[in-house]
Symmetry: D2
């Protein structure tokens, strides 16, 4: 095995980067192309630009990361395609919620052309789509002539929670593209853009370069990704984070605002309760006035997690 610290061919021609396609094809059980990209925002942008035209549109949830937290990157990458916002509990899409926003759009040159669906797995509220939900969305997408993209910043957590194959939550359901998250799962600065239609790769690679995301020592990114997926580390890390989340969820009782199906816990906590927890050294995000968002990690200290669970249980 080669170390990324050894000099090698630049860009993605090195010995490590060249293992990417094979490693991800093995992971998903079908031929795919896998490109390292330094951020999820860029990977989402490149994926969507491969699926929709500038006059096209992507249906996503109103609270999807690509809508709320990427500073308009999808429009930058797609040269102006629109995000059409659908509703759904827990930031999850359904065929019905998608149909509700695209059915009223007339056809013709005056109107936006919906061309893709983007969902987040696990969702922005830590919910995961089950294999049958994914299949239903994939079938709906196919029926409507829409491509399916998955923002999988927490994809490993969803797979770990669902005890299914990664393919069951992606390519088997008809997804064309997947951002396979690495940074939230232990990486330093790399995500994998997985193309289940490998023919898309040539064009995506040009656009990656054009966006300044073709790093000359890309082997450092490839090394992070392969360390995760050439074995079970990606799943082990996700399981650890999920387990920590379940421990906290178990203590939270009816404070829970959403089911915990990955590594995020949203729970009712008054300002005073939050202040109390913080005074004990616990870190989390405020979520509006009366709630908090807790994120567990691949490396969360079990002792610290246990202490937090007990503190929440004791409120």
């Amino acid at each position: 095995m080669h170390s990324a610290d050894e000099a090698d061919s630049p860009y993605d021609g090195d010995r490590i980067s060249r293992r990417m396609d094979e490693a991800f094809s093995a992971l998903f059980g079908q031929p795919c192309a896998a490109l390292w990209v330094s951020s999820g925002t860029a990977a989402n942008g490149l994926a969507l630009a491969a699926l929709v035209e500038p006059h096209g549109a992507v249906v996503c949830h109103r609270e999807a990361h690509i809508e709320t937290s990427e500073a308009g990157a999808p429009a930058f990458y797609t040269h102006g395609a629109k995000l059409i916002l659908a509703e759904g509990d827990g930031a999850k899409l359904t065929p019905e919620s998608i149909a509700a926003v695209i059915d009223p759009i007339e056809q013709g040159v005056h109107y936006i052309h919906p061309q893709a669906i983007s969902l987040t797995q696990a969702s922005e509220y830590g919910l995961s789509y089950a294999p049958d939900e994914m299949s239903a969305l994939g079938a709906f997408a196919k029926e409507r002539g829409l491509k399916l993209h998955i923002d999988g910043a927490r994809f490993a957590n969803a797979v770990a929670f669902r005890h299914c194959s990664p393919a069951a939550l992606s390519c088997e359901a008809g997804a064309s593209t997947l951002v396979f998250g690495c940074v939230k799962n232990g990486g330093m600065g790399a995500e994998a853009l997985v193309l289940f239609e490998p023919a898309l790769a040539d064009l995506v690679k040009v656009r990656r370069k054009r966006a300044g995301h073709l790093q000359s020592k890309g082997r450092y990114m490839a090394a992070q990704l392969l360390a995760l997926v050439e074995g079970d580390l990606w799943l082990d890390n996700a399981r650890a984070a999920n387990a920590a989340a379940q421990e906290i969820a178990g203590a939270a009782g009816d404070r829970l605002l959403h089911a915990v199906e990955a590594n995020e816990i949203f729970l009712k906590l008054s300002p005073q309760e939050r202040a109390g927890l913080r005074a004990q050294g616990f870190g989390f995000y405020d979520w509006g006035d009366d709630a908090a968002r807790i994120v567990t990690a691949w490396n969360s200290d079990p002792a610290h997690v246990g202490k937090l669970a007990r503190a929440i249980g004791g409120l």
Copy 2:
């Protein structure tokens, strides 16, 4: 007076085009720049591109023409700025409905930056903003650091309905840009993009050229616009259309879905009723399953209008 058929300097250097700024400044009672543009879609796009950056956003009504019927032209012209969709009866915005969609947006590099408001006068449902409504919106915009744009495809109809000055519905309320509609009010193929901040003109003119909207015989467009605004023709035409709309509205009674404040009437009409009216030679648009949209024009034949009013009254 010169005819547009006389050879003259090309582009907007001719004797007719050069009267545009003066004519519109006189109309609005303040210095402004006025550019001919061949369509409302282009004029809106150029205006919004002058007001927001590519990472910015424009708040508009969910049913605004720029959102529903311009094929994403605002994103094309602004290089990707987002439209943020607000609610409101009759496709009208209020400070509250705008605040409801921008207040939740956090500040910082991860988020979209709302930079402008775009409203349609008269609205997509034929409602008009009164001077005090415009003032309230303008004050709100100023307070929030937002620029104000008016899509005035039916601006003349709104002015005619409100019996006020054109300035009261635009620059006096703080609008930076206005598309002063001409085509729906008798023109062949020209709208005026009025810039109440004349300093914007230099850049907008470059962008007009870059978008292929600087016609070499622009004098033909200028001639259409000046024919309207160097006298009262713009108002006479609008009044004629409005009067026809009022006559029909008067006959429609409680079939009316919206107040009639310009030249559009939306009214409940069953499929059978619509078929019956069409059989008598009347033209209008279906509006969903149980309603119709009737548009009157500057040149609607009074006899025909009267006949339609009687036909509706007699249903």
Copy 3:
């Protein structure tokens, strides 16, 4: 026959616009789609956007109008594609001059991808490409996998000069797109974008709308174009302009800087000579310090042209 002043379906659904495809198909002897567009800059932009991707490039002459005089419109329409500048006498391209600029470009994701050639017929110096020159360029384009676009602001003049069919200078040589000029040949504000690959039309129509070039009373543009091409008016007008140019060229002798093959004459004229001619009421453009550019028109007054020819001959 219908007048454009009659109310009709909006946009391009009216009875006049719907004759466009047929009229141009007849003119070129093969099925084509023909769209009205209000300016040559827009028509060129739309054509190029149909032929190249944002990371692609168009080879054109260093003095091509799209490079020198359209304020970057091609980059706006194509979302950033590059113009690669080739050399050539009289602003004409040859296979050799194109090869000279594209052969050094390496292949791969780091480099620009040349995808089209754009030539101007007649050229910016009033030279025209002969049928065999067009064939050679078309064959070269095909061999290199490049699409061929023709900026035909003066296409009619070139056809008139070459005494050939319009097809011989366009589709028979393999051109995919042609801007068939109308404004310089008598029109008010319309050019025809002719697509010799009619399958391109759907997408180009969306982009035309998105660019604000789908006028709601497009019938006024269609009427201008059909008036030219449903008979021989386009050719008659061009012949008149060409004849005037030849008369002046005949008087210019060795002052001529370029052969006169359309309706433009470039000739050496000192500042004093130009001043003298202007004092006699003749209009033309300065061309550097010691030359002038004279453009004749479809409606140039023969008496005036004769007088100018005599004045030049007498210098």
Copy 4:
């Protein structure tokens, strides 16, 4: 001192990233903002987008990296601004070569607006601009109202060669932006975008996010940059590479195609000579048919370099 491996605030809010501005301000002796960006292509794109408008243009050398090797990234980042190509020995610009390409451009809405100059320090042929050359270019830029950008992928090598301050080759000469190269000088995947007009930072940061270049664990990039510039490592590394280049240059005699003023050597080498050197284990790039490009590095093995020098000397 904190390690990047410690959890910290995400994006650029961590304790390491927050030292960037200060570290680079100290290096340049004036307040500046410094942003980490993962590639030179992205950093150049962001810089140029801060300096020119979509209808603007950047003058660069015909062989500048931004023109030849970035797949059109500048056009992507600037939304279509043009690169105007100037000539100059050794890929270096001069006020005269810049004037030669911008002076013929007319002013007005039909034309491209040159708004910036971009030069590469050291140049693509390994030549460096001396302080007085930089001053002359800066003065020229100021006089013409152009902003000055420096692509400094090998900036450290130029500073090391010129024995001057980094400021003398950048801000003191009036540069607005500088890409301070790190990857070619020992880094893994980070470059510093230095803004000598710190007021540009707010907007550039938004665009960095929008382009997907705001990494969530940016501290790993900051750590690379600070390791170089909080001491003399950046200069030590560059000196080592330069010294290796000088050793090879000294042996190359009149084979040299360009002066060696950084860490690149271009020298005449026949195919046979190249094959012979490669057979001895030396690596370099072919440069056309009869030359080679040798690049030395911060970590080139002196023994290997010496062996290469002797091999070249002995040819």
